[in-house]
């Protein structure tokens, strides 16, 4: 049943130009960053060869692209999650799902699954770009794997927050703006948390993500993301349930 809902959602996403525009934007922007980094690497390659323990191709070309991907997800995920629930309410199609023998949990998880599938598509594009460097040199596959995992977890956390905010309103645009504002808030927390001892570090999504950029897959970081994802999925389910009870 979750799969049925997820497939429907993907179909709706790709029926509108939005999903295509987002994919094109993500790919265009990241490809630009990537090429620029590869270019820089080519220029300073000779210097690097003389430096002991110098960063390699992966650190210089691929990791910055993942860093940029964080900003790209921050801006594009609100556009993708905004309509997931709010539009169902606005068009009164929520009644179809609620009257069907489907639980609220299945509805939310189904929609979340569709978002994860979409994220995997973005990750596949990024991975393809990264692996294209295999043609010309050696890259650190472990580091790339850590980066991909980090980006996936980040995207999933953003998606669950976006879905929850989409539950709160019937206007997709309002949902998008609110989601973007929340993500910006997280980003600002990340900027403010310059002191490594500060508690802000602990709650900052971007600081958590930076660990993955450096290639550290630490249990606390993974747990942090999993908890955020689970929390907002749970809140979304509760929100829909409470509407049935009180609205």
């Amino acid at each position: 049943m979750i799969i049925v809902i997820a497939l429907k959602e993907l179909r709706s996403m790709f029926a509108s130009p939005l999903a295509w525009v987002v994919l094109a934007f993500v790919q265009g922007f990241l490809a630009n960053v990537f090429l620029k980094q590869v270019d820089t690497f080519m220029i300073i390659q000779a210097q690097l060869a003389r430096t002991p323990n110098a960063p390699g191709l992966t650190e210089l070309a691929i990791v910055p692209m993942f860093g940029a991907a964080q900003m790209v997800l921050l801006m594009s995920i609100p556009l993708l999650t905004m309509r997931l629930i709010s539009e169902e309410k606005r068009n009164q199609t929520m009644a179809l799902l609620v009257s069907a023998p489907v639980s609220m949990t299945q509805i939310i998880v189904g929609k979340f699954t569709a978002m994860v599938a979409f994220l995997c598509l973005i990750l596949a594009l990024i991975a393809t770009m990264s692996f294209s460097l295999l043609a010309g040199g050696a890259i650190d596959l472990g580091l790339i794997a850590a980066n991909l995992l980090g980006l996936l977890l980040l995207g999933m956390a953003f998606s669950s927050i976006g879905i929850f905010i989409s539950c709160l309103t019937v206007h997709p645009v309002v949902a998008a703006v609110m989601t973007l504002a929340v993500f910006m808030g997280f980003w600002v927390i990340g900027l403010a948390a310059s002191d490594p001892g500060s508690w802000l570090n602990w709650v900052s999504i971007s600081k958590r993500f930076e660990g993955f950029l450096d290639g550290y897959v630490s249990l606390p970081d993974v747990t942090f993301f999993v908890v955020v994802i689970a929390l907002f999925i749970f809140l979304s389910i509760r929100k829909l349930d409470s509407e049935r009870l009180s609205a």
């Binding site: 809902i5 009257s99 023998p101 489907v102 639980s103 049935r244």
Partner: protein, 313 residues
């Protein structure tokens, strides 16, 4: 109804729904057996849609219980919902999907066996006259066809109880006739609950009727009872040389007389025992009023509502 199966498919008792201190629906009970069509009638805001939302699990009742084929909707919603088909006021269609894609999605959501999927879709499309539209985008269909897609959606999984919220709103007269005959057909092997504010519609298709007003049931009877209630209430008389209203009132005591248009009077507020027909004819001949038409008018929806709602409920 005597020859039909009397096993109850839906029983709702004491449904109450409050929004804060505002009571939207108060103590509504419904019992429906297989092959029965019930009409929920009421002016806008009477609580028809709220009642239907509760029966379909879209809204939790503040009080009361709902059983679908003996399964409690609140305790076991997933099983109970497989037995219900619901068309909300606004058809819940995804405009970006094709009719076929949409019906397939709905069938899967309602757990129609994958072997039966294609035939279930074909049957639903045939019954609602959508076969030709299979490949059309729902968003490009007219309102009437979108309404049919909504109905197809409600019956695709062959539910025991079909719940239709104002199914004929926004349709043209031909479509209304088609949809009504479709509902009658559905009523043969499903139970149907229908809401409307059109009284003749209820008389045309329903077996029994409940009239809601301000969230309360003010009338609950079978269709014969409704007819009896409506008829014999007033008479419409047309004259070539009409008397003044005063003159008519003098002749017909204890009747209420109102002018419909030039030469046509409506005589109402009558009791069955003192039928004034003879008196009118007699007076007309004596006074040369030129009576040329005398119709036993049925009470209109508004009159029925007014009468029911001004009674001590």
């Amino acid at each position: 109804m005597a020859d039909k199966d009397h096993s109850l498919t839906l029983s709702a008792t004491g449904l109450t729904r409050k929004y804060g201190n505002n009571v939207a629906v108060s103590d509504v009970s419904l019992a429906l057996s297989k092959g029965e069509i019930i009409g929920l009638l009421g002016p806008n805001g009477a609580g028809k849609s709220t009642t239907m939302k509760m029966i379909t699990g879209n809204l939790a009742p503040t009080e009361g219980s709902i059983k679908v084929c003996g399964i409690d909707l609140i305790d076991d919603p997933i099983v109970a919902k497989t037995k219900i088909g619901y068309l909300p006021e606004i058809p819940p269609v995804y405009k970006e999907l094709r009719v076929n894609e949409y019906l397939k999605l709905v069938a899967k959501l309602h757990k129609v066996n994958s072997k039966r999927l294609v035939s279930a879709m074909d049957i639903a499309k045939e019954r609602t006259g959508l076969t030709e539209m299979s490949q059309r985008l729902i968003g490009s269909l007219s309102k009437g066809f979108q309404q049919r897609v909504g109905i197809a959606q409600a019956i695709i999984h062959e539910p025991e109880v079909v719940i239709l919220d104002e199914p004929t709103v926004g349709l043209d007269p031909n479509q209304i006739i088609e949809i009504r005959s479709l509902i009658k057909e559905l009523g043969e092997d499903h139970s149907v609950i229908l809401s409307t504010h059109i009284l003749p519609e209820v008389e045309a298709i329903c077996d029994s009727v409940q009239i809601l007003h301000k969230g309360k049931v003010v009338f609950d009877d079978d269709i014969g009872g409704l007819r009896k209630f409506r008829s014999g209430k007033s008479i419409q008389a047309s004259f070539r040389a009409p008397p003044t209203k005063k003159a008519l009132e003098d002749k017909l005591t204890n009747a209420k007389i109102s002018l419909v248009r030039e030469g046509v009077y409506r005589i109402s507020g009558l009791k069955l025992e003192d039928d004034p027909t003879d008196a009118i004819v007699q007076h007309s001949v004596q006074e040369r009023w030129g009576l040329f038409e005398l119709v036993g008018a049925q009470a209109s929806v508004e009159e029925v509502f007014v009468e029911l709602t001004t009674q001590d409920v």
